[in-house]
């Protein structure tokens, strides 16, 4: 019992062990368990652990396990209490923790999904222009009909090309999918290119399908036309297609799964528009490479580039001080 007299939401706690982070098991009502890994740190290693344990949990086919929803450093597990007592679920998760190697030794099933991107495209400009006209005329994140110069300034970059280079220079890790079906929340795997941008205030009422934007430390692709709050910098091909008009979507209408990496390559907008039409006509081949993700190699790379990443972070933080938040 807690001081206020109700049962504690914390069902169990597992202390950090060699290579494994602390795990906090929290009740979220009578059908969900929220499993949190480590402390509230912005640490992709926690996400690698979330996705590893999630995969094993599904492989074990536990009776009464209904659904799982990974977050950045947590997993929301839905269970049927008539078939699976939460204590049994927690015991299973502890057992998996015992079996999972230390974070640095993990290798995750993953794919590299190659996507074309047109920067500063007309559809994103249309979204920004509609926003400036109908929602907020004096937004500091809008200049010259785009959000791009705002992101350039906020990150202390010399010009637009430097921003585009950063987007193209790293793979983007889909840590989790949410907010809308198939919408990936992606983080840079190369810490040198850790961009940051505050979100819209208030939000935008319309965004084009395939628009690519930055909100906080995270890059997202809009699966369909929708409202949104991320700063837009470009547009790519469809990532969601219920009708399965392209072969890539026939096994699953959602292209990018948690644990996938997106690698952008730059194209002109005319080429992107053609690719968009080709996707719909089933003439476009998505390039997707199966490529397990090796955490040890990733950690070595992070260590190698750390001085440069730190230097860039200091420059970004100094620049951000001078730029107003929307």
């Amino acid at each position: 019992m807690t001081a206020s007299g109700h049962d504690s939401p914390i069902a169990a706690l597992r202390e950090a062990s060699d290579g494994g982070p602390k795990v906090t098991f929290r009740h979220a009502g009578d059908q969900f368990l929220l499993v949190e890994y480590g402390e509230m740190d912005f640490d992709l290693e926690l996400n690698f652990r979330v996705l590893t344990v999630d995969g094993i949990l599904h492989d074990r086919g536990l009776d009464g396990l209904v659904d799982t929803g990974p977050g950045f450093r947590s997993n929301l597990i839905r269970y049927d209490p008539a078939r699976l007592a939460p204590a049994r679920l927690i015991a299973e998760l502890n057992d998996i923790e015992d079996a999972v190697p230390a974070g640095s030794e993990l290798s995750l099933p993953s794919r590299v999904i190659h996507l074309p991107i047109a920067f500063d495209d007309a559809r994103s400009r249309e979204a920004v222009e509609r926003y400036a006209r109908a929602v907020r005329g004096d937004a500091p994140n809008v200049a010259d009909g785009t959000n791009i110069d705002y992101m350039v300034a906020y990150n202390g970059l010399p010009d637009r090309e430097a921003l585009y280079d950063e987007v193209l220079s790293t793979d983007w890790w889909n840590a989790f999918t949410g907010f809308f079906p198939g919408l990936p929340f992606m983080y840079p795997l190369d810490p040198r290119y850790a961009l940051f941008a505050p979100k819209y205030n208030p939000t935008r009422t319309w965004t084009a399908e395939g628009a690519v934007g930055l909100g906080g430390p995270c890059v997202a692709i809009y699966p369909v036309e929708s409202p949104g709050g991320y700063q837009l910098f470009g547009r790519t091909v469809p990532i969601y297609d219920l009708a399965g008009s392209n072969a890539a979507f026939r096994p699953d209408p959602i292209l990018i799964k948690p644990g996938d990496r997106v690698r952008f390559h730059r194209v002109e907008e005319a080429e992107l528009d053609q690719a968009f039409a080709d996707v719909r006509a089933d003439r476009y081949d998505y390039r997707i490479d199966e490529d397990p993700f090796d955490v040890e190699q990733w950690l070595e790379h992070c260590e190698e580039v750390r001085p440069e990443a730190d230097e860039r972070r200091r420059r970004r933080e100094a620049a951000a001080e001078e730029v107003p938040v929307p």
């Binding site: 929220l34 079906p181 198939g182 929340f185």
Partner: protein, 327 residues
């Protein structure tokens, strides 16, 4: 069964095809559950017409639906007392009724208490399954009829074998309909993010101390509560943001009381699957149906904390009531 089994003459305020429990198994892909907001009335309606629990029916918000039947079937209407007529004659609620081809059903506006009614048809509404469910999620344009609310001119098919099924000729009644009122006691489990690490004990006491008015700006995505000020157990959200309600994104359970800064929103079946704000308490499954009957703008909610054991017990009691209809 013909694909013109039901013709929609007027769609009403917001009438959608739903099924229970909705769209499960796609949380990792960001797909919301959807499904009937009041699962209890929905499940009773299905049981009254002899349908399996998973058959699709209609959720009618407030009223305004008019429909004509293109074939004989059996229907049941459960939920808010919505003045309902069949060919101009009053239609009883919480009771199965045989209808004939050509009959016209009319649901006028409910004056309450309650906010939604559920209409089950023997066999169930036959629309394509999307991600394993027929439930409509209008925000994502998924499920139901073209992913949207029904409108004039729509035609719905019923699943094969709909007539003369287990529902028989109608006349089956449910005698244990819950009493609706403007004040709702809603059972919750405190957490996942509550005291001692996110809220103070006094915050939890405040949350459960008095009724909260539900804002008019509430719907299937969420019920917004009148503003109140929590003390919070921490000064900020750390790396996740300036406000103590900020966290690195977690999955959201339907029924979660989500604090967006100092605004509380109870997440509905169409709410987002994840986000960067704490969930301080979660409505338990046996009580989540009440969210579908709460009238935005007038009704009030008092949160009643219960243990996990009690929540499971309450849910079994609901299941037993529905099971008694079906047997």
């Amino acid at each position: 069964m013909s694909d013109q089994a039901i013709e929609i003459i007027e769609g009403g305020v917001q009438s959608t095809v739903q099924d229970y429990p909705g769209r499960l198994g796609r949380l990792a892909d960001g797909v919301s559950q959807a499904g009937p907001m009041d699962h209890f009335a929905f499940r009773v309606a299905n049981a009254l017409v002899g349908n399996p629990a998973g058959a699709a029916g209609l959720e009618v918000t407030l009223g305004g639906l008019r429909a004509r039947f293109g074939a004989d079937t059996v229907i049941a209407l459960c939920g808010t007392p919505m003045p309902a007529t069949l060919n101009g004659e009053p239609l009883p609620l919480w009771e199965s009724v045989a209808v004939a081809a050509g009959d016209e059903l009319r649901l006028r506006m409910s004056k309450g208490p309650g906010f939604r009614a559920y209409l089950a048809f023997a066999g169930g509404v036959d629309v394509p399954e999307i991600f394993g469910s027929r439930a409509t999620h209008t925000l994502a344009g998924l499920g139901g009829l073209e992913g949207r609310a029904l409108k004039k001119g729509d035609r719905l098919a019923l699943a094969a074998g709909a007539t003369g099924g287990a529902g028989g000729g109608g006349g089956r009644r449910f005698d244990a309909a819950p009493a609706y009122a403007g004040d709702w006691d809603v059972e919750v489990m405190i957490g996942p993010q509550a005291d001692p690490d996110f809220l103070t004990a006094a915050d939890v006491e405040l949350l459960c101390s008095r009724p909260w008015k539900v804002d008019a700006n509430s719907n299937r995505v969420g019920l917004r509560l009148e503003p109140f000020q929590l003390a919070w157990a921490r000064s900020g959200g750390g790396i996740a943001g300036g406000h103590p309600s900020n966290i690195l994104d977690d999955g959201y359970p339907p029924g979660g009381i989500n604090m967006n800064g100092d605004t509380a929103v109870i997440l509905g079946p169409d709410g987002p699957t994840s986000g960067g704000f704490v969930v301080v308490a979660t409505v338990v499954h046996a009580a989540i149906w009440k969210l579908g009957q709460i009238r935005p703008g007038t009704d009030r909610i008092r949160f009643v904390p219960v243990t996990l054991e009690r929540a499971v017990e309450l849910d079994r009691a609901l299941d037993a009531q529905i099971g008694a209809v079906a047997s």
